[in-house]
Symmetry: C2
Subunit: 262 residues, 2 copies
DNA sequence: ATTTTAGTTTCATTATTTGAGACTAAATGA
DNA sequence: TCATTTAGTCTCAAATAATGAAACTAAAAT
């Protein structure tokens, strides 16, 4: 009747997905009572939702400790999602190639609801952390990949995304106002690439460039990351031509693919 | 009333997950009518489910081509699932280590509903195909990782899993009867490791060993894979001590972790 | 032995899902 | 051009499933 609001639209399925998010947000196995605390559902309702999700394999239930965590079925579904995820699959060979040319860490990201969604990663030097990035989300206003995309959106899109940012100060270098960010975006747009000057994590710097299709539409972005201990800005910027070549090739291959929303 | 059967239990949420599976099974963006063909739901019901899932981000909708595919939200959820996925996270450092010691491809797998679920992969030689495995499922009866696990289950569990196998002949070497498989499993149990002698894919061979906890319970398995063009059985079997060391270390670290079901 | 806490079940009420059929728009064909 | 098929969307009364206050159980904690 009256305009409801909580957070999510949708009926029963939407509620179930909310529960899934709740559990995922913990980042560790949780008990039913813990989910109850953070969710706004009445106890029996939540109980049934959790059980249903567990029965369906969307949550895994550890019977011993009586805890829940995101289920294996998600892994299988995400495997398919990733494999057909247009930009990731189109970009793969080019990201591979760049990975062989440079020894630094490479990220491929897209915008998703104002946030950066990492969809691929290569780890030149260390073979660690393989799966750790794809599917991860991060802030847009203080990462190289985020700013690179933001800078090349249309003014309207740009404002819409800026309005979604939280402007949390991660480091002393984080840009924490829309004004500061807008000014920086102008520079980025002018020079064609973005830098992350330890804005998200102290000691971590990167160069990033947007992936644009023929019409100049932002599809995603690619970054090369390293630490201040291992590299210098001069050395990192030497990779710009390789990075440019990579994003151009991806943009070319993704010509007629259009990005689903911002 | 009468015993229903179709496939899935569950109410509305279960149906929605069924639709998700349907879409995933295609392995490519699909139109509504294609989903309609393979699903057993009436048109308007399916329509609403698909729309709901798309609204929730579980499916991505390409408005131009009017196609659906598994959504980005799944990627985010699976990212968390994988990160806390006990065996994968416990095993990670050990798999990393093995990856540095050998140049072949390494897989970490678990059993999930009678199938092999790959949860991690390292690709020694080529940096390609990074994401392509975790979340992937495969047959148990004709892969190294599958047979290694199967051989060390209790007899009851073993029979339960064997009953779930389809025994499709992938290559001339595939074992296609329960009897042949049982005989092979006995050998595997005796010698402590499993081989894949081109049973799943011609030209691909591997050695695999189960990850067991202190009580001898199967938690998963690890394999080292190569092609017949690049290696010989003698060369591959030389890696057995490294493999044994790896699975023992994982088993040790996973001591009190108990595997969720078979 | 008593109280508290965490998980589970019940069941009448309520809200959502259901699906035959109707409708629209666009593509196909004669 | 106009009929015809096809793909997608909408409607609404009927059928069904979800809801949640309250009660219950089991196991800790006091």
């Amino acid at each position: 009747m009256t305009a409801e609001s909580p957070s999510q639209k949708g009926g029963t399925v939407g509620k179930a997905m909310e529960v899934l998010d709740c559990v995922a947000r913990f980042g560790q196995p949780v008990r039913f009572s813990q989910i109850l605390e953070v969710s706004h559902f009445p106890k029996p309702t939540l109980y049934r939702l959790v059980r249903t999700l567990a029965d369906l394999g969307m949550l895994d239930h550890d019977a011993d400790k009586d805890t829940y965590m995101p289920g294996r079925r998600l892994l299988k579904l995400a495997h398919v999602a990733w494999a057909q995820f247009s930009l990731a699959s189109i970009a793969r060979p080019h990201i591979d190639r760049l990975g062989q040319q440079v020894s630094e860490t490479i990220h491929l990201a897209q915008l998703d609801q104002g946030q950066v969604l990492y969809v691929d990663k290569r780890n030149g030097r260390d073979p660690v952390e393989m799966y750790s990035q794809a599917g991860k989300v991060g802030p847009t206003y203080c990462t190289g990949v985020g700013k690179a995309m933001l800078a090349f959106l249309t003014p309207e899109e740009q404002e819409r995304v800026i309005a979604l940012q939280s402007f949390h100060r991660f480091t002393p270098h984080t840009l924490v106002t829309p004004e500061a960010l807008r000014a920086r975006l102008e520079t980025i747009r002018a020079q064609g690439y973005a830098l992350d000057e330890e804005e998200h994590e102290t000691g971590i710097i990167c160069i990033a460039m947007p992936v644009l299709n023929g019409s100049g539409r932002v599809l995603g972005s690619v970054s090369i990351t390293d630490t201040v201990l291992r590299t210098t800005w001069a050395a990192l910027k030497e990779k710009l031509p390789l990075l440019r070549e990579t994003v151009e090739r991806i943009g070319h291959d993704a010509q007629d693919w259009h990005y689903p929303g911002i």
